[in-house]
Point group: D2
Chain length 102, copies 4
C-alpha cells in the first residue's frame, strides 16, 4: 500500500489540498460503503441481477472505499501495510490456536 499512500500524498501536496476533517471522511466512508452495499444487494438480495452486470461497479466501489481510508491514514500517519498485515495475522493466529488446542 506504500506506493498508493505516497501517490495520494504527493498529489495532495502538489495541489496544496488538505485532507478532509476526519468526521467528513467517516461520512464519506459511510456513503461509499452504502453504495457498495446497494450493489451487493442487487445481486444477492431480492433484485437478482447477475453478478457479471455489477462486478465492475463493485470493483470501483471497493477502490473508492480504500481510497477514502488512504486519505484518513495519510492524515493520521497510519501505515496501511502494517495495519493490513496485523488484521490478517489476527485471523491466522486465532485459527492456529484453535487448531493446536483441539
Amino acid at each position: 500500500m506504500k506506493k498508493y499512500q505516497e501517490q495520494v500524498d504527493v498529489w495532495f501536496k502538489e495541489n496544496k489540498w488538505e485532507y478532509w476533517q476526519p468526521l467528513a471522511i467517516v461520512a464519506r466512508l459511510f456513503e461509499e460503503g452504502g453504495e457498495f452495499s446497494r450493489l451487493v444487494n442487487h445481486v444477492y438480495g431480492p433484485k437478482k441481477k447477475k453478478v457479471d452486470e455489477v462486478v465492475q461497479d463493485m470493483e470501483e466501489e471497493i477502490g473508492d472505499i480504500i481510497y477514502t481510508l488512504i486519505c484518513f491514514a495519510n492524515s493520521h500517519n497510519i501505515d496501511l501495510d502494517k495495519a493490513i498485515q496485523k488484521s490478517i495475522d489476527k485471523v491466522v493466529v486465532r485459527d492456529k490456536d484453535r487448531f493446536t488446542k483441539s
Copy 2:
C-alpha cells in the same frame, strides 16, 4: 409507531409480499444510511451547500431509514414504540444518575 407498523404490514399482506431476508434489510439500511450521510456531508463537510437546499432530501432519507427498520421490526415482532421509549429512557436515566450523584 404502531400505526406505521400496521400500515406497512397490511400493505405487505394485501399484496402477498414477504419482507426481505434480514441481511438484505441490513444492506439496505447501509445504503440508506450512506445516502443520508452524503447529504449531511454536503452541508457540514467540505462541500458547503446550504442546509435549505438539502433539508427536504434529508427528511426523505431519514424516512427511508425508518421505513427500512419498520420492515425489519415487523418481520421480527419488534414493537418500535417500546424500543424507542427504552432508548430515550436510557439517556434520561443515565443522566439522572449523573446529576443526583454529583
Copy 3:
C-alpha cells in the same frame, strides 16, 4: 413520533444540552447501524445464533438508531411523522402504479 421528539427536546432543554454537530450524529448512526448489523449477522450470517438469543438486543439497537435520528431531526426541524408517512406512501404509490399498469 411527535411525542418522542418532544420528550427528547424537553430533556435537552431542561439540561441545557445541545445536539451534537451533524457529522458527529452521522458517525453515531454509523456506529449504531454497525452494532445492529453485527447482531443480524450473528443470526443470519455464518455464526448461527438463535434469533431468540439476540432479538432483545436487536430491539435495543433499533431503538438507538431511531433515537439518533430523533436528535438529528430535532436539530433540523424535521417532522418525523411526515417523513415516515412519505416513505411509506412512496412504496404504496410505486406499487399501485405497477399494478394498474399491468
Copy 4:
C-alpha cells in the same frame, strides 16, 4: 495488495474455509465501519479524547475493514491493486481536467 490477497487465499484454502456469503461480508463491513466511526467520534466528536489514545485502535479498525474487503474481492476475483489505482486516477484525472480547463 496482491500479496495480501494471496496470503488470505492460501490460508482459506489450507483450512478448507469458504468465504462468507456476500451479504454477510457487507454486514461485517458495516460493523467494522461502525467501530471505526465510533473511534473517530471519540476524538473529533463531542467526547474529545486525545488522538494518541485511539490511533492504534484506528489502525486496527482500518486493517479490519480492508481485510473484510480482501475476503469479498477474493471471492469475486477482484484485483484490488487495479481497483485502488483506478480510484486514485479518478481523483487525479478529475483534477487535471479542472486545472487545465481553467
